[in-house]
Each structure stands twice: as structure tokens, then as C-alpha cells.
Point group: D2
Chain length 213, copies 4
């Protein structure tokens, strides 16, 4: 199985982005039987999707997992749904800041992840690391890329699956510990567990991962 | 203008539900020019939607705003998107606990609120109370009813608008203050501000209410 | 019984301080049998204690309750212990910023509140509002004044009791609801309940209000 | 220099206690020039202090650092002050649950840590891990032992220093990531940095580590 993992470049004044650090660490030790490719995405509206689509086609990946930073979350969060909405709280790395615009004009309101999200969460927990399902990827670059990915895969690429995973801050991003963090090595281990679950699970677990609100 | 406000009965072991308390208080003092109707929804999958659809038709409401409790949130949150997913962390009031089932089989993945969500948030803040846009209503009864509402309104009821608003715990629900709360009277004031904004705003404000994740 | 309630002026760039707003509201409706005096303290190291000592002597108060803002806490918190330490994260209103200095040179490491802290917490909860005991008043002006108060009362004023209460942000201080808040009127009701408990309780309740850490 | 590090056994229904796991890992790789001894303390009021005093005497330690779990905190927290108060929210491992009793009858209200707390925090951050000063160790076993330690050291053991450090949950203790965590190996690295700072720092850094409340 061919798997494409993507991470983002830094943004919002940070010097690092944990998503790309962890993706690079995960690339160095792929699960057995998995051919792993990675791509670094820019924090630029639309350019990020163009880069992603090119990487999806170049890699011929069966499974695509995009990874991004969710500063403030304490565990890995496997995103369930991408919405057709850009509403940027801060500008992207070239100063573009869309407000209330669709990711894809005329596209459906949302796409669900086609990863086995419950199995992915279970795999991370089995590895001794915290994880849960998330029902919003926000309205910035992460959701933008997630929606762009699903729109691409659902438009004539049957059998190819994809989704999005959010990761916590790195410890060095929160020196006074006012927000949770996870070391890059732990994030990489969790990503490896997610990749394994994604390629081996044909039918997702039927157990709740829901949120009351 | 005719407006329908709905609240929920208590659930999950609570003796009260702030949504219904606040809706009743708001009903007692409607904004000028607004004819306000209210309905109490059961915490029951599908029955809640049936009750809501009946109330929508009986009231002839131009604007429908469903209200529910989001325990742990500190301000009013105006929901932006309803997803076609039931994933119940706890059973409903008759013990039904759907996991990974659609709200409406064959329905679209999501509907966006047709309320002017940014104007609603601004109106609450102008009233001196905290508010923000939320991009997930969860996967329990609140999202279920929100999706059911939008599916109903979008299926042949042009010009009728609707959405969902989450409210914090009441102070008496969190006696030790380990979670945020808002008095019922403040919630009612905020709902009144939202109703006013909803009926008077024809084009939503173009200002960010986005989330990075 | 004569009770002195004190609040603080605004600081740190805020236009308001909920402590003084609530103290003024509480002053307008004292519990029966209580003669209530109030004083506004400056956010200035040492000047605040001097002003407090003068108010204590002028008022002849039997019970002194100083009140301050604890932005981010969701309920009323009755402080249990004042420590002999100034360590200012931000400068005071005249730019003074002591780091690791004693409040009173040669004073003991700490004083415990002589209010019936458990009874005060119970009284607030009985009024339907959230409260708990806190075991740190920080190392800024609130702890400074609390320590200064206890040092004054414990130095030759037998039978006169005192303590400190922290209050949440006002709703208008957190427009987007990213932190908890409590309306000034609710805070005032809670303060009134605390005053009543403080003057009528001779022996504190024996029930846990402890913290694991 | 001889250093004693202590950890606690599990409590409150947990199968593990991160403090002991991390202390054992730290013991395996002491800083150069440091002779490191460890002791496991029971979660029992008074017995824990007796065990600690024995370990202090047996080890002949110049520096004693007790370590405990603070579930919910996101970084290492170096405690600044121990208070003479037991107020147990839950029973200890033999069912004892003191409420509002002194740790040491007739002892002072509090003792300050004699570790260079600011230098310890700085050392952890230099190691790329999150840390801050804390001004409350709670009112359960951690504060109990911390107070017992300081009372012992301050009663006739000049030149011997001691303090307390709280550590986050382990990742496996929070499988759904609703609370922050830190891997045992990271905690051990942070403890090693603290030990190094404690033995090499003769005068603490003069920089703020204060809290507004």
C-alpha cells in the first residue's frame, strides 16, 4: 500500500510546525508493507491544495493523511468532517485572509473523512498515547486542505481514501506549560499507528467517539 | 415576523436544562415586531425532529432558532454547520444510542446555518455578553435537531431561515465552579439579541469568526 | 456587626475591575444587622496596604473581606492562605514590579484566613452560585493585600477577622467567551452571602474543600 | 553532592504514578558529580513523612526533591510554598481523610522551598520542556510531604535544602486526551535538569515567575 503523509510549514509567527517534524520522523520508520511518501504544504490558501493534488497524483497513494497543528489540544485528534468554508482568523503566509468564502465554489457543504476514524483513534490509544475523534478542523488552512483533499479524492478517484489528523503543540512551543504539548517522537509514533490502522482496516469500529456538543 | 424558539428537556441526569429555562424567559419579552412561539423538544433521537417539524409548521415561523446546552462552554455559541451524523456518547432519554448513523439517510453531509451568524454574535456582544461562532454542534441531540431542522427548511420552504445556538451551564449546575456558567436571565437576554439580529439582518456581517482548528 | 469590604481599581489595561463594581452593588443591600463600609484600593504595592490599614481602623470593622479579580476562574473563590511573597508578573499601576521580595520583611511565611472559608463557600452555593476554596491568591496585589491585612489583624487586634475573596471576569471583559465570567449582580449576591456567613458563623464547617494539587 | 529524589505509589484508583516512574528513570542517568538516591513514599498521611525522614537521614542527602503527580497540569511545576494544612478531597490508601488539620501541630503556617525555584524552571525550559513555578501544592499528600520535609530540614539541619516538584499525567493515564500529559522519559529529563540546577545554583535567578492570582 502506498501512503502519502503531508505536513505544514510554520505559520502565525512560529518557528516550527509540529506536523512536519512528526511526518518526517514517521517517514523514517514506516509500518511493514507500507510505502510512505511525504509532502510539505505551504500555509497558503489554494496553493496548498494545488501542491497537495500534485503530491497525491505523483505518489499514486492509496491512502492520504494530511497532518496539521491544533495548538491547545492535548491529544491526537482524527478529524471526521471537512466543511466548505474559509474563515481565516489570521492571514496566511502571503497575507491572504478569506472570510466566509467556500473552499470550492459550488462544492457540497462538507465531506466526511474516508479513513476509519474510530480504528485510528483506537490504534493510537493502543500505542499508549492519547487520541479522540474531532468534529471540526476549524476554518483555516487545515480544514481548507482537508476539504480540498476530499473533493479531489471524491471526484473520480474511487477506492482512494483520505483524511486529516490534528496534532498538539511541541513542548518547546509552550515553555511555561500553559497549554498541553506532545513530543515530536510521540506524535510520530501516533501517526505510524494511524497509518497502520488506515491501511489494514476495511470496516471501521462501531464504537462511540461522539461529542455531546 | 414570526420566530420559533425551541429548547430541550433535561438529560444525562440533570434536573434542569438551561436552554428551556432561557427560552421561556425570552418568550416573556419578545423584541418589538416579533411574534415569538416556543416549543419544548424531547431528548429523543428522531422524536425530537418530528416534534420540531410539527412546531415549525404550526407556528408558520419565518425564522427558527433551536437552543441547546453546551456544558463547559463559557459564552453563547452560534452554530455554523450541522452534519449528517449521529454518534451518541450517552443514550437519549429512552435509552437509544445511535453510533455512526446518518440523521437523514441519503441526506447531504452537512447544512450551513441560514441565520446571519456573525451578526448574531455581534448582537450578543453589543448586549455585553460573551459570544462566538462554533463550527461543531457535536454529534448528539443538538446536532441531530439542527440537521433535521435545516433538512426540513431546505426541502421546499424557500425564504424560511433557521439555525442553532448553544448555551452554557446555569450557575446552579456547577456548584464548585469547575466549569463556566451563565445565569438564565443573561442567556435569555442574549437569545433576545440573537432573535433581533436574525429578523433584521438581510446580509450577514463580513468579519472573521473563524477558528484556527 | 461592622464589616469592611474592599475592591481594587482597574489594572493591566482593563477599563473595569469587577471587584469594585460588585462591592459597590453589595454595599447597596447589606444583610440585616450588618453595617457595611467599603474602600477602593489602588493597584500599588505597599500603598494598597497603607490604604487598607487606614480603612480598617476608620471603619472599626469586626470583619474585613478584601475582594479582587481572578481572571479565568469560573466561580467565587474564597482564599485560604496568604504568603509573604511579592513576585509581580506585570508592573503595578505606577510601574513598580517587585520580584521575590517579602510583603513584610521579617513576617511569617504565611497567614491563614480567619474567615470561616467552608461556611462562606457553602453560603454562595446555597445562593445558587458557584464557589470553592482556593489555596493560592497568587503573588501579585491580591496576595499582597491579603497578607498585609492578616499581618495587621494578627498584630494586636484580637477578635477581628479577615480574609480574601477572588471573583471572575465580568461578561463584558471576555466578549468572545474564551474565558468564564460572572455578571456583577451575581458576584454581589455571592459577596452578600459571604458577608452573612462570615458574621454568623462562629465555628467553620468541617467538610472538605481540599485540592489534590 | 548527594541528592535524594522521592516518588509516590499510585492512588485514587490509578494503576501507575508518574512521579515514581520518572524518578526511577532519572536515577538511571544522574548528572555528573551527583550521587542520586531514590525512595518510594506511600500515599498515607504521616506514614509518608516518617518514611521520608528516614530516607533523608539514611541518604545523608544535601538536596531533597520530592516529586508527585498533578493531574491536569501541562508542564513541570516547581512548588514554592508548603502550607500547614491537610484537607483531603479523597481518602488516602488506608482510608484516612483528614479535614482541616495541621500537618504538624504547632508548626508555622508555611515553609518556602529552599530550592532555587526560578533556576529549576529555567533549566527545564532550556531542556526544551515546559515548566513554571506553582504557588500551591494542594492540601493532600503532596503538600503534606512537602511541609513535612521542610519542617524536618528547617529543624536543625542547616545547609540541607529541599523542595517539591509536581509532574503531569502520563499519556496512558489520559487515553482520550481530555487532559494534558507528558511521557515518563520527558519527565525524567526534566527532573535531571532540576537536579542539576539545584546542586549548582547558589543564588536563585531574579526573574519573575509570579502569578496574578
Amino acid at each position: 500500500m502506498r501512503v502519502l503523509l503531508t505536513g505544514f510549514e510554520p505559520f502565525g509567527g512560529s518557528a516550527v510546525n509540529p506536523s512536519w517534524q512528526a511526518v518526517r520522523l514517521a517517514e523514517a520508520a514506516p509500518p511493514e508493507g507500507v510505502s510512505l511518501t511525504t509532502a510539505l504544504l505551504p500555509v497558503l490558501f489554494h496553493d496548498a491544495i494545488a501542491r497537495l493534488r500534485a503530491a497525491v497524483e505523483e505518489s499514486g497513494a492509496d491512502v492520504v493523511i494530511c497532518v496539521g497543528q491544533a495548538g491547545g489540544r492535548a491529544g491526537m485528534t482524527v478529524e471526521r468532517v471537512a466543511v466548505n468554508l474559509d474563515d481565516a482568523r489570521i492571514p496566511d503566509n502571503k497575507g491572504v485572509q478569506p472570510v466566509d468564502e467556500p473552499v470550492v465554489a459550488g462544492g457540497p457543504a462538507a465531506y466526511f473523512s474516508t479513513l476509519p476514524v474510530k480504528a485510528c483513534v483506537a490504534a493510537v490509544r493502543d500505542a499508549g498515547l492519547p487520541a479522540s475523534v474531532s468534529h471540526t478542523a476549524g476554518t483555516y488552512l487545515c480544514n481548507h486542505v482537508f476539504y480540498g483533499l476530499m473533493h479531489h479524492l471524491e471526484s473520480g478517484r474511487p477506492g482512494r481514501r483520505g483524511g486529516f489528523v490534528h496534532v498538539p503543540y511541541l513542548p518547546e512551543q509552550v515553555p511555561d506549560g500553559d497549554k498541553p504539548s506532545m513530543p515530536a517522537r510521540s506524535v510520530a509514533e501516533a501517526l505510524t499507528a494511524i497509518v497502520s490502522a488506515a491501511v489494514t482496516t476495511t470496516e471501521d469500529l462501531k464504537e462511540t467517539g461522539g461529542a455531546l456538543h
